[in-house]
Amino acid sequence: MKRIRFWGTRGSLPVALTAAKLREKLTQALRGASGRAFASDAEIGAYLDSLRFPVSGTYGGHTSCVEIETAGPEYVLCDLGSGVRPFGQAAVTRHGPGSSQSYHIFMSHVHWDHIMGLPFFAPAYVPGNRIRIYGGHAGLEAALRRQQDQPSFPVDFNVFRASIEFVHMDPGRRYDIAGMSVTTKLQRHGGDSYGYRFESSGRTVVYSTDSEHKLADPEETNGFVEFFRDADVVIFDAMYSLADAISIKADWGHSSNVVGVELCQMAGARHLCLFHHEPSSDDEAIERSLAEARRLEEITRTGAPLLVTAAYDGMEIEF
């Protein structure tokens, strides 16, 4: 495992930065630069790096798609949200249309925001490419085919020219895929979802999105603590505040930054990455959630520090 690359980090629905929000960022950046002179692009870059991320950047708006870069030539992805479109374009650009590649795609579930990118996944249209789609849902293939049926989409699933296979995974069983040991876990979500634990060369990454934690059941909590145990990175659904997640949005199938911190602390994980951001949250709101998660980690820390980040489209985590 070499790195994790985030191509889509938003929950439920893709969003885009509006012109008004971009103008706010530019205004703040220019206000901060007032009276300063920049002799080079490097100095401009250094100035931009000094700004808060919600001013100099954006968390982005593509729905779930995460790449785990392994030491081998095969591609590994989690979910087929809209983020898989830029991933696919980058892969085709890198290899050209005449080169065959293998893609292993692990599906958390088949809700729309996690499958909507497939019709725009360019490698699926390239003959010779091999795509294996893994998941725990019996209706995985049917769901992916159905979204391209008329009248929902003009290009039928059968138009794909890559070889596409569907592989069912049983929770708790260990699979050897793309040089990694992979286990999956059933999660609480409407229609079920599955988390994945990837282990390779002493590194462990957990992808656990669209997962609600009811908190009242110690056995359920302990199950997730073991699933996250000693992970180097836990990519975690932190869509709502804790109060919302257990009150007005109870049974909506999502979790919070607070529960993410607690589970990772109990599991001895090293890095919690907040993921599946609420589409109505702007960059400042996500940054606030991140700052609060970091503060909670600080005031509740009993062992080694837990690094807390918030995923953004384009973010990379190096090993």
Binding site: A216, T221, S241, L242, A243, D244, S256, V258, A293, R295
Partner: protein
């Protein structure tokens, strides 16, 4: 977990002591249950005196959420008072400060809920600020 109960006219002041986390949220819930059931039958309000609570986890907050829902459904009131700074931060981070009635002190909570209860509380605590 220690859990003391005092009654001031029509308000019950319950005071848990210690940490409310994954290991003892159950006992906290068990201790709180009869207080809530009693308040539902009698119309008494409940004030949770958190001055002795050092930490509360999500599991403990879930107990408070369930208590607030029960109080609402039975037409009674529940408030939380005297949060230690760390616990107040946890309430803010989790947004529980927006859905529960919080007061700086038990006296402030009683002043909002029942003046006779406040008078009884002050009489019982004369000379010992809370």
């Amino acid at each position: 977990m220690q859990f003391s109960i005092r009654k001031f006219t029509d308000v019950v002041v319950a005071a848990p002591i210690g940490r409310i986390d994954h290991s003892n949220a159950g006992p906290f819930e068990d201790a709180l249950r009869p207080v809530l059931e009693q308040s539902g039958g009698s119309g008494e309000a409940v004030v949770l005196d958190f001055s002795g609570v050092e930490y509360i986890s999500s599991v403990g907050l879930r107990v408070l959420m369930a208590a607030a829902k029960q109080a609402h459904s039975q037409g009674s009131k529940i408030a939380v008072a005297s949060l230690q700074p760390i616990v107040a931060e946890i309430f803010a981070i989790s947004r529980f400060d927006r859905i529960l009635d919080l007061y700086p002190s038990v006296a402030d909570a009683l002043a909002s809920l029942s003046l006779p209860a406040l008078e009884a509380f002050n009489a019982a605590n004369s000379g010992s600020p809370t």
